[in-house]
């Protein structure tokens, strides 16, 4: 040893492994405009496809005349349901066990629905041809309200389901009813609530929104008729699932299909499902023998591809006089639109909504969810959250506030009184989940201290008094949230998508000179996987993260995986990465033992090397070992250094957090200003603090959008009112407040590195924090519940209805 020998700290630093705020390796290309998105793909002879879409929300399609369109120079084909029917592709199965029209088959059920697919030599010709397709519609009565949809005389939407009294999730009790899904003990819950000293009841609506990724959905399908291979490039959050579905639908053997997700410009759940555009592009490519590109524009994206939320949640929560919760009952009327195309694990038609007991130790609970058809776009995806978890978090965090009002109690105190105590983990909730780990009181106390909660309450009281004296027209809201998420779907025993278990995978190859490539079954849409997964591996195998390439998204090369959504990449694929890394290390240990001429049990792992126990000067680094793996003939050991792991998680992970939002509200104009936002996240082991912070900032901004303005609304005849970014709220830097981030670190006991996933927490926790701040500002004047989004008009309406405008 001499002065030039790196210290252990220097060796650790060189790896840029776990816990390092390593800069994102992706950003070099993104910040230089050198990303490669699907619309950047150009192939020789490529054609373009686009849709004729329905202007009506409900109408019979009496005839389609495409003669004039076909006659337009440059038009290659116009596909209608009649053309797809012989292939049995005019309908397709949805992820939720329903089926969905690919092209209008006799009727349309929502505005913007795909009616015909025009294929032409360029996009301009497509746009002209679309105008020339004559569709004869006969308008039908429209229903956009799920409660009205269930009335006896409501229009029949899904005539294709006539006479079907049961669906994929049990009995249907009405022609517009999809399912009733129940869990928990309703009788015991009712009993607890009836016997309770205090009961709060409220209808909580989480409005329909849209993930609206900056890049819309699209694909390029290319059928090579010579070698029989179909290649589909697309904005897919789950490329392997798309390959399997494409094979099942088309009959093309799976080895002859290659699905590639190139760079993706945000997904947020919008890019999980299979859309008519993909099917039509594939069919068009098979028919024409040419590559066919389909790219949505913004209006297509907002009107037709998957929405999120639209849950009417009727809650009853009971407690003792001093605030100990005794029961929770929830009935949801879930508006699924025209087809049930929710993206949930098969056995969970309401996703993991039954995490709705939240962070609280609630002895008994019940959830029932009625799925309903309406004349709105299909979807129901997890928009930056695990399946229906943000609905659940919003529901319980609003119900807690309402209960606090009923009890006349401080909402922070009520929460603390009911948190699941640290010593109760692993904790089994009344609705059957096993929470892996948590320390809610510590996080909560830290959050309240950080914002000087008591001081804020004093200031608020003074403000109310000043308002009443006519000295100010601004109110102060303190929005509290303590959320618990459930992410990382999921254990194969109960989680699957179209029958595919929700494991994930990682395959590692170490190159002879000590660098590596790892391929995963997931796909980054901006999360920075190429950065963080390399960090996990760096710590596991002792090669620098900078020497590890991460590759995802090409089904010909990546191992099978279920994709990226529901914060599942780190919990599942991240675990697979660590496990594959450990397999590498196990083999490396044997190689090192041979090189060092010791028994492998005499070696121990030390950062980036195996060291002979008790003789630290005798070691082999992973780099040495990699070289040996390819150059030495080692008796009893195969050459090479590779490993693959398919990881079936034993449980979900349960990230949590404590958020406080302080908001100024102008009573006269309905405008608001977020004065302070404090976000404490506990996502278990922290892989890259900088990326966590970035994820939290992004998720909070999406939460702000949802809570304060974003919506997909329809008028009474089913016109979508928010189909452009003029009317669909995407915050800019100007609307985005400053965020303060903080953390506690409670590792997951069952995850190989203890990580839980963080990408979605800020959306799950952020929405109730913003919304509760609005509500809290008006609590002193008697407000209990006002539905989101809290745009200027709706906040103004609260003030107006409370008589604050004099």
């Amino acid at each position: 040893m001499n002065d030039l020998t790196p210290t252990p700290q220097e060796r650790i630093a060189k790896l840029k492994g776990l816990g390092t705020s390593r800069k994102r390796v992706e950003d070099a290309r993104f910040t230089q405009g050198k990303g490669n998105y699907v619309d950047d793909i150009k192939m020789p002879g490529m054609l373009h496809g686009d849709f004729v879409r329905s202007p009506y929300a409900h109408a019979r399609v009496k005839s389609i005349n495409a003669d004039a369109a076909r006659a337009l120079p440059g038009v290659i084909a116009v596909l209608t349901a009649a053309d797809l029917a012989p292939l049995n592709l005019h309908w397709m199965p949805t992820l939720a066990g329903d089926r969905q029209m690919v092209l209008a088959d006799g009727k349309v059920l929502f505005q913007g629905q795909e009616v015909a697919f025009v294929v032409a030599t360029d996009r301009y010709v497509c746009a002209d041809a679309i105008e020339l397709v004559e569709v004869d519609y006969e308008e039908l009565p429209v229903v956009t309200d799920p409660f009205k949809a269930l009335e006896p005389g409501a229009p029949v939407l899904r005539e294709d389901l006539a006479g079907q009294t049961s669906g994929a999730h049990g009995a249907r009790r009405h022609h517009n009813h999809i399912f009733l899904w129940e869990t928990g003990d309703e009788a015991a819950t009712n009993q607890a609530i009836e016997a309770a000293e205090v009961v709060a009841e409220e209808m909580i609506y989480y409005h329909r929104v849209h993930p609206c990724p900056l890049e819309t959905c699209g694909c390029v399908a290319s059928m090579d008729k010579v070698n029989g291979k179909l290649t589909v490039f697309g904005t897919f959050q789950a490329p392997h699932v798309v390959r399997t579905v494409a094979s099942l639908l088309s009959g093309i053997e799976e080895h002859n299909i290659r699905v590639v997700s190139p760079d993706i410009g945000g997904g947020f759940g919008n890019k999980v499902g299979v859309y008519p555009g993909y099917v039509c592009s594939i069919v068009a490519s098979i028919v024409t023998g040419k590559p066919v590109k389909w790219i949505e524009d913004r209006m297509d994206n907002l009107m037709a591809t998957a929405f999120a939320r639209d849950y009417w949640m009727k809650g009853r929560i009971s407690a003792t006089k001093d605030g100990k919760i005794t029961g929770l009952h929830c009935h949801v009327t879930a508006d699924h639109g025209a087809f049930d195309a929710c993206a949930d694990p098969t056995k969970f038609p309401a996703g993991f909504f039954h995490i709705c007991t939240g962070s609280y130790d609630i002895p008994v609970a019940y959830v029932g969810v009625d799925g309903v058809y309406t004349n709105k776009a299909p979807g129901g995806v997890a928009y930056r959250c695990s399946f229906r978890v943000t609905e659940a978090a919003y529901f319980i965090e609003r119900m807690i506030e309402v209960l606090a009002i009923e009890l006349g109690m401080d909402a922070a105190e009520l929460r603390a009184k009911n948190f699941i105590r640290k010593d109760r983990f692993p904790y089994t909730s009344a609705l059957g989940w096993e929470y892996d780990s948590g320390d809610y009181h510590t996080a909560w106390d830290k959050a309240l201290a950080a914002v000087d909660y008591a001081g804020l309450r004093r200031e608020q009281a003074e403000r109310v008094a000043a308002f009443k004296r006519g000295e100010t027209r601004k109110l102060l809201g303190i929005g509290l949230t303590h959320f618990t998420e459930i992410v990382g779907a999921g254990p194969v025993k109960n989680c699957d998508i179209l029958g595919m278990g929700m494991f994930d995978s990682c395959e590692i190859r170490i190159h002879p000179t000590g660098s590596a490539i790892a391929r995963l079954g997931t796909i980054s849409q901006g999360q920075g996987h190429a950065t963080t997964f390399a960090q996990i591996l760096a710590t596991e195998i002792g090669l620098p993260a900078d020497s590890i390439t991460i590759e995802e998204g090409d089904t010909d090369t990546a191992p099978y995986g279920l994709g990226t959504y529901g914060s599942r990449s780190t919990p599942v694929a991240g675990a697979a990465t660590a496990m594959a890394g450990r397999k590498i290390r196990a083999k490396a240990q044997m190689i090192a033992a041979w090189l060092l001429e010791v028994h492998d049990g005499d070696l121990e792992w030390d950062i980036d090397r195996f060291v002979v126990k008790g003789a630290p000067e005798r070691f082999k680094t992973m780099k040495d070992i990699a070289y040996a793996a390819y150059h030495n003939a080692i008796p009893g050991i195969e050459p090479g250094l590779e490993a693959v792991s398919y990881y079936d998680p034993p449980n979900m992970t349960y990230p949590f957090g404590a958020y406080v939002c302080v908001m100024e509200i102008d009573v006269d104009t309905g405008t608001h200003e977020v004065r302070q936002f404090y976000a404490l996240d506990d996502c278990g082991t922290r892989i890259n603090p900088m990326i966590i912070e970035g994820q939290v900032h992004g998720g909070l901004t999406e939460a702000l959008a949802i809570a304060m303005g974003q919506e997909i609304a329809y008028d009474e005849i089913g016109n979508c009112k928010n189909s452009t970014l003029m009317d669909f709220f995407l915050p800019t830097a100007v609307e985005t407040p400053h965020y303060t981030t903080d953390y506690t670190e409670t590792p997951s006991p069952h995850h190989p590195i203890g990580a839980k996933g963080v990408g979605e927490s800020p959306n799950v926790g952020g929405v109730p924090a913003f919304s509760n701040a609005v509500h809290d500002a008006f609590r002193a004047f008697g407000l209990r519940q006002a539905h989101m989004p809290h745009d200027h008009w709706r906040i103004w309406k609260i003030a107006n209805q409370l008589g604050l405008h004099g």
Binding site: P731, T732, K797
Partner: protein, 284 residues
Amino acid sequence: MIAAAFEYHRPAHLKGALGVLAEYGDDARVLAGGHSLIPMMKLRMAAVGHLVDLQDIADLKGIRVAGGRVTIGAMTTQHEMIASADLARAAPIIAEAAVQIADPQVRYMGTIGGNVANGDPGNDMPGLMQCLNATFTLVGPDGSREVAARDFYHSAYVTAREDGEILTQISFAAPTGGYAYEKQKRKIGDYATAACAVQLTKAGGKVTSAAVAMTNLADTPVFSDAAGAALVGTSGDAAAVKAAVTAAVAAISPTGDNRGPAEFKRHIAGIIIGRAITRALSRA
């Protein structure tokens, strides 16, 4: 979101532009910054066979302040107006309003001429021009004429401009006294929920002149004589402001949209007008 095919003309002189308009009649439209027209064409809500791009016509650009009068060429962009030191001195209300229009990208392209000629009740410049009592110069095949901003707007997208005419410049007397442009919008890039321009003068503790005009609260900009009159001769006290607000609100007829229903806008208008007047008074 792709416009139908059109012919593109790019004359270097006003005469050439007028010639194309004369030749193709209402199948031709002039193109300024394109930030109102092109979205309409992409949505195929406007069908234009011949687009006459004015950007090469040098005469239509520029800001001149001389002899107490401000003249702005129609093709001057909102960004150029914000950046102009002359304008900042002569009529600071212009920049105060212009920075509240859309976002920087739009303001680099959007022009004063396009903004006032468009006739969209959501545009901010028309109300402001009425407040300043500006004059628009229109040049057509038969020569040039002047129309007061206060007479220019008939209903949404219907103005005093004939199809064959081009708006070449706007001009107004450089204002003095206090001013304010107050606007409520949902976010950056949005048109007004309610907006109000106020320009007033005070002497000897009394308001001596006052002009109040509003944006997006009817199908045209709304200039309220009565609101100005309610202020003139007063000290600008709370009662006078209230009377002016009442008068101004009486002149509007907002309609509901995604920003909210009419009654909400009416209330917001009152607040915004009040704030604009108060701020203008504080600067007078």
